[in-house]
Subunit: 270 residues, 2 copies
DNA sequence: CTGCTCAACTTGTTGGTACAAGCTGATGCA
DNA sequence: TGCATCAGCTTGTACCAACAAGTTGAGCAG
């Protein structure tokens, strides 16, 4: 039986925090200090019950706090595990470099160049433009667009989902866009070859907690936010595409280089 | 009225989900569809207990799911409220425009220009460089830097915290950096006047759940991620500053314009 | 040795209770 | 009228119990 009186009597000073928070804070400190390294398993709930002289619910409240902060994850039958957080940095200002276009698909190139194994699944469909997409592509909401959707993995871990909408007028000029299957030389390159040159883009970056659908596709539990990257590409005349990429926030960062960075070396800081 | 018995009796169809998740999903749908608008109060726990024929713990589990997804927030004595999510867009590629420097502080200008009221508190201190900062500024870890820290509000709502480190060598040339108090014309402008011109920068953008300290400063509850923006500024020769900004992820987005965007209008899409 | 079963662990879900603590409006006294 | 108090609402914290469900390894049967 939990005794409020007892706790006050021999805890003395720093007792303002509720007990479940003390559990979370103690474990957080031990994770930060390396007592429990990334990948390591925490003690089981019943162990923690004994250690903190708390009920199972209280211990679970504390653990759930850490789960919702993305520090640990739990799986039924296995226990709680400290999440690792090595990140993949995507150089967005070089990702489709306007001055030095890369060969092939930009994502494949980027992932392979750091010695990891890319893998993706494709889907192509015709769909009416949503309000958000229509506004960015400067077309009427509901008008036909081609949506190319892909689900990307790195070393078989779900990494990101990417949806690109092309306006209907553009697809007439570049029919392969609406065909299923990869465009091996890269869509930007393919479009350039068909007289559609992307001369600029507008990026929007936001973060939020994943929807249930996103959590399923990216295999993220509670406590891991997603990073939303919306890139609208422009030709000389008008918008030519709108790409929405949803990243696992714990595994990805984005970077931009603007102006002259004479002192900076490659791949640094890591 | 929701009937558990009914659900169990013709078990067959859509019953795989645990009850607390059904509660969360039902409420999420009602929030999405506008039944509960942003700012509105949800029914109390005991109302939901009756409606879903569930125990208080089960209802709370469902509500906590929505809290941890940032859809709602709770306050003791008041109830659960649907969070609003109008965002402030920061144009990072124009924020300290290299070609057209703005007058005064960039943040104040940006906030005022959309008709909102900025407010900030300042703190200046000398501090040894952490490993992260040292790496970015290309100085030795532990060497002296000047840290200018500010805590920013918009219409009295906590908005972001910003910490800028300047390397020791630079402060010798531009002494006002280490003095407390605002630099009214903007630090970038002040540095330019002292022969230190920022000709490029490197941005890193990440997201994660807030630390307890961040949650306190930004007044965000569980379920709202932060957006981390690290900008390292370069002169012709070397790095001259490193700025780490921590935004409330629910209230902020960042945007970049790269290349030519001839078709794009200002302040759009909203 | 192989392969299967099962006990013994783990977390997940759901029910219950009790009291603390924050908020609000009604009541009643000065 | 004005202000203090308090009842009655809300959520927060903490405890208990029971069973479901996933994982693992020991141990037995073939």
């Amino acid at each position: 039986m939990y005794q409020q009186v007892e706790r006050v009597s021999h805890d003395g000073c720093m007792d303002k925090q509720p007990k479940y928070r003390q559990v979370a804070d103690a474990l957080r400190r031990e994770i930060d200090s390396g007592t429990y390294a990334p990948g390591a398993r925490l003690p089981s709930e019943s162990d923690l019950m004994k250690r903190f002289d708390a009920s199972r619910n209280t211990v679970r409240n504390g653990l759930n706090l850490l789960v919702s902060q993305g520090l640990i994850s739990s799986s039924q039958g296995l226990g709680y595990e400290v999440r690792s957080h090595e990140v993949f940095k995507l150089n967005a200002s070089r990702f489709e470099n306007l001055d030095f276009p890369q060969n092939g698909d930009a994502y494949n190139t980027d992932v392979t160049s750091v010695g990891r194994r890319p893998h993706q699944t494709f889907r192509v469909e015709m769909s009416p433009a949503s309000e958000d997409v229509a506004e960015r592509l400067k077309i009427d909401a509901g008008s036909t667009t081609v949506l190319r959707f892909c689900h990307r993995f790195v070393d078989d871990v779900p990494w990101s989902t990417q949806a690109t909408w092309y306006p209907g007028w553009l697809v007439e000029q570049s029919p392969r866009l609406s065909q299923p299957g990869d465009i091996e030389e890269g869509t930007t390159r393919y479009l350039t070859a068909h007289g559609i040159e992307q001369v600029g883009y507008f990026d929007e970056i936001a973060t939020r907690m994943p929807t249930p659908e996103e959590a399923r596709l990216l295999e993220i539990g509670a406590g891991v936010p997603v990073l939303l990257w919306t890139r609208t590409g422009y030709s000389e005349d008008r918008p030519i595409r709108c790409t929405v990429t949803t990243f696992r926030g714990d595994l990805n960062q984005m970077t931009y280089e603007i102006g002259s960075l004479s002192g900076r070396e490659e791949n640094e800081p890591q």
